[in-house]
């Protein structure tokens, strides 16, 4: 092999090397740019969610007042919560707030959506915003208004001729919260179901009509099966929001000078109060453990709902 040829080959090799370098630089940039765009979200997610979550898991195994030294106590916080009658009482109250309004909330929202979309409703553009208005209202303001409505001499008792102490009677207090949840939530599920109904082809409904199906049969055998993913979404969202419930019971049936810092009496206090009350009492580890138990409960119920309601074969 001559020297010239060798030089050529070296140059060729260099060219071969330099070209991919340019290309790989460009490719690197192409690969990086999306992450740069994602960076603000990723950074905030890590700083405000992922890192605090990891810290709170660690914290749940410690006894910590919020300052000073933290003592490792293993699973003691979790065991203490499982042994706590108050924790179970608040868990039962949370289940009440989830299950009691579930059917009227989702069923009512669905029926309203069907009605507004049907030919029976004359002015759907009026009903849609009207039904959604409670959802737009701030929960604090809504609770304050409902405190007036449900007071001893309030609108509800006056209209129905009742003498129910909605805000102070512990057994009536939970029902007062349910009323507020129904009023505030039905518009939200109405909108979700209305959006879902647009996915049900009119041709299918017309075909069912031509085959002799009445309105109820069309809803049961056509609309509901087609709406299955939307119903699943609505149920899961309702479960999550019910388990995280805090504002409504504490503002509606709580009082400024009440026993716990959060306000609601134990008979109407949701499980989120365990998280907040323990922070107020300087029991940060216990609060973190309560939060993670709540998270686990939401996860388990959501998985169960997905398994029960998802379409077969998917």
């Amino acid at each position: 092999m001559s020297q010239l040829q060798l030089a050529h080959r070296r140059r060729d090799r260099e060219e071969v090397r330099t070209l991919p370098r340019r290309r790989s630089g460009r490719a690197l940039l192409d690969r990086t740019v999306p992450y740069l765009f994602l960076a603000p979200f990723l950074v905030s997610f890590i700083v405000f969610f992922a890192a605090p979550s990891i810290v709170s898991i660690v914290l749940s195994f410690y006894r910590y007042r919020g300052y000073g030294t933290a003592s490792y106590i293993g699973f003691h916080n979790y065991v203490a919560l499982f042994q706590s009658p108050e924790f179970w009482q608040s868990a039962r109250v949370t289940l009440f707030y989830w299950l009691v309004p579930l059917v009227p909330l989702l069923g009512g929202g669905f029926l309203l959506a069907v009605l507004v979309r049907s030919k029976l409703a004359k002015l759907p553009s009026v009903f849609k915003p009207l039904l959604f208005v409670p959802q737009v209202m701030a929960p604090v303001a809504a609770a304050m208004v409902w405190r007036v409505i449900l007071s001893d001499n309030g609108v509800l008792n006056s209209l129905l001729g009742l003498h129910v102490d909605w805000l102070n009677d512990p057994s009536a207090g939970k029902w007062a919260v349910v009323l507020l949840l129904l009023w505030g939530g039905i518009g939200w599920y109405f909108v979700i179901f209305l959006a879902g109904l647009t996915n049900v082809p009119d041709e299918l409904l017309e075909a069912a009509h031509l085959d002799g199906a009445n309105a109820m049969q069309r809803i049961r055998h056509v609309t509901l099966p087609m709406m299955r993913p939307i119903i699943l979404f609505a149920v899961v969202i309702d479960t999550i929001s019910s388990f995280q419930l805090f504002t409504e019971p504490n503002l509606l049936v709580g009082a400024a000078g009440a026993a716990s810092a959060t306000g609601a009496p134990p008979t109407a206090a949701p499980v989120m109060n365990q998280v907040v009350d323990n922070i107020d009492a300087g029991q940060f580890g216990l609060s973190a453990a309560a939060g993670w138990l709540l998270f686990l409960a939401v996860g388990i119920f959501s998985i169960l709902q997905f398994r029960l309601l998802r379409e077969r074969g998917k």
């Binding site: 203490a80 009482q89 400024a256 026993a259 134990p266 008979t267 009492a281």
Partner: protein, 386 residues
């Protein structure tokens, strides 16, 4: 107060300024904020206001400065009750602002109409009988209010005077499950709610409470010496009609207090301890400083003994002479509950169990106290652990 202090001490206060920061909307907010400041080690205030029942937690954790050297010279100026509030567990850590004596506020006009002499109302039975007597002439009027979930200070005032305690230090353990004083307080709350003489639907610090104090629905209330400002604010038109007496014996409580009182403490990590201490002691523990504060707050009952003879104290503009008379009488039986370092958790657990007991058909509170005992034993363990 700061202006008066700097004007009186120009050479020692040269270059100093006071920045007041709100601790939040409630006592709980304020304590949470203080905990966060201690946790971060940043923005630690030079002075923090606490209720005395919140002090043990911070003494136990070593977060407060020992201020005995600065406070001791002025201890002779203040009342016996105020002296009690300067220390916890043998450590001098606080400068008292307000001693929370237990006081019974009543509508003198309505009581006179019903023929009730508060001085003759000595026991819980007398108190209920007075309530019935009141309702005979003022239907729809109540002698106190205890809602389904009473405010912690309502039963806290009872347990502070009847020998109750929630724990022992040695051995370190929660003992509330078998504490007779707490059981007696719970029982008293239930008996009063069932008596018909007490409103069971009005909660403290609600709009209904404010209007009830102004419109005669509540003709009296068992409270503490912090209440006058609020009554004046809610019922300005009733000036001269509200008067003050001593508590009857409720739940076996003779005397006591509400959370002890309000105090200023200095964090151990405060960068300006000496300056903060000088300001507090000269303002609140000397006659010249406290009189300046008194001029700004006419409903304030000072802790400096010599100022108790001031005309504005002796004849309160709203309550007349009955306020200081009842206050001084209550001083003789002033007691502070034996608070431990886990008082926040204990108050929450016991408050919840009291609400459960009041709303159950059970006659005895023992099972509810046992529940609180097991809950606190498992969640808190030793109340003095850090």
């Amino acid at each position: 107060m700061w202006g008066t202090y700097t004007a009186a001490n120009p050479s020692t206060t040269k270059g100093q300024s006071l920045n007041v920061v709100s601790g939040g909307g409630s006592d709980t907010d304020s304590v949470s904020k203080f905990r966060l400041e201690l946790s971060s080690g940043k923005n630690i205030p030079d002075i923090t206001e606490l209720n005395y029942d919140e002090v043990p937690e911070f003494v136990n954790s070593g977060a407060l400065a020992d201020i005995s050297a600065a406070v001791t010279p002025d201890l002779g100026n203040v009342t016996t009750a105020a002296k009690t509030l300067t220390s916890y567990d043998g450590q001098t850590v606080a400068v008292p602002i307000q001693v929370n004596e237990k006081l019974w506020f009543y509508r003198a006009d309505l009581f006179a109409k019903a023929g009730i002499d508060p001085a003759q109302v000595k026991t819980q039975a007398d108190f209920v009988a007075a309530g019935k007597k009141l309702q005979a002439v003022e239907p729809g009027s109540y002698i106190w209010n205890l809602p389904a979930s009473p405010a912690p200070y309502q039963w806290g005032m009872v347990v502070s005077g009847n020998g109750a305690s929630y724990s022992t230090k040695s051995p370190c353990a929660i003992t509330v499950g078998s504490d007779p004083g707490t059981a007696q307080a719970f029982q008293a709350m239930k008996d009063l709610r069932n008596s018909g003489a007490v409103s069971t639907s009005i909660g403290d610090f609600t709009p209904q409470w404010q209007s009830a104090l102004a419109n005669g629905t509540l003709a009296s209330t068992l409270s503490a010496s912090w209440l006058p400002t609020f009554i004046e604010q809610y019922a300005p038109a009733l000036k001269g009609k509200w008067a003050v007496a001593q508590w009857p014996e409720i739940g076996g409580a003779v005397g006591g207090s509400e959370a002890g009182g309000a105090v200023f403490v200095i964090p151990a990590a405060s960068p300006h301890k000496a300056q903060a201490l000088a300001f507090l002691t000269k303002t609140l523990m000397t006659a010249s400083g406290a009189s300046a504060y008194l001029q700004k707050n006419t409903a304030y009952i000072p802790n400096v003994t010599s100022l108790l003879q001031s005309p504005s104290v002796q004849d309160n503009s709203y309550f007349g002479p009955s306020l200081i008379k009842a206050y001084l009488a209550a001083s003789s039986t002033y007691k502070v509950f034996p608070y431990d370092a886990s008082n926040s958790a204990e108050t929450t657990a016991l408050g919840d169990q009291l609400a459960n007991y009041l709303n159950s058909p059970a006659t005895s509170p023992s099972s509810f106290l046992q529940t609180a005992q097991s809950q606190l034993a498992s969640q808190v363990g030793c109340p003095y652990s850090q």
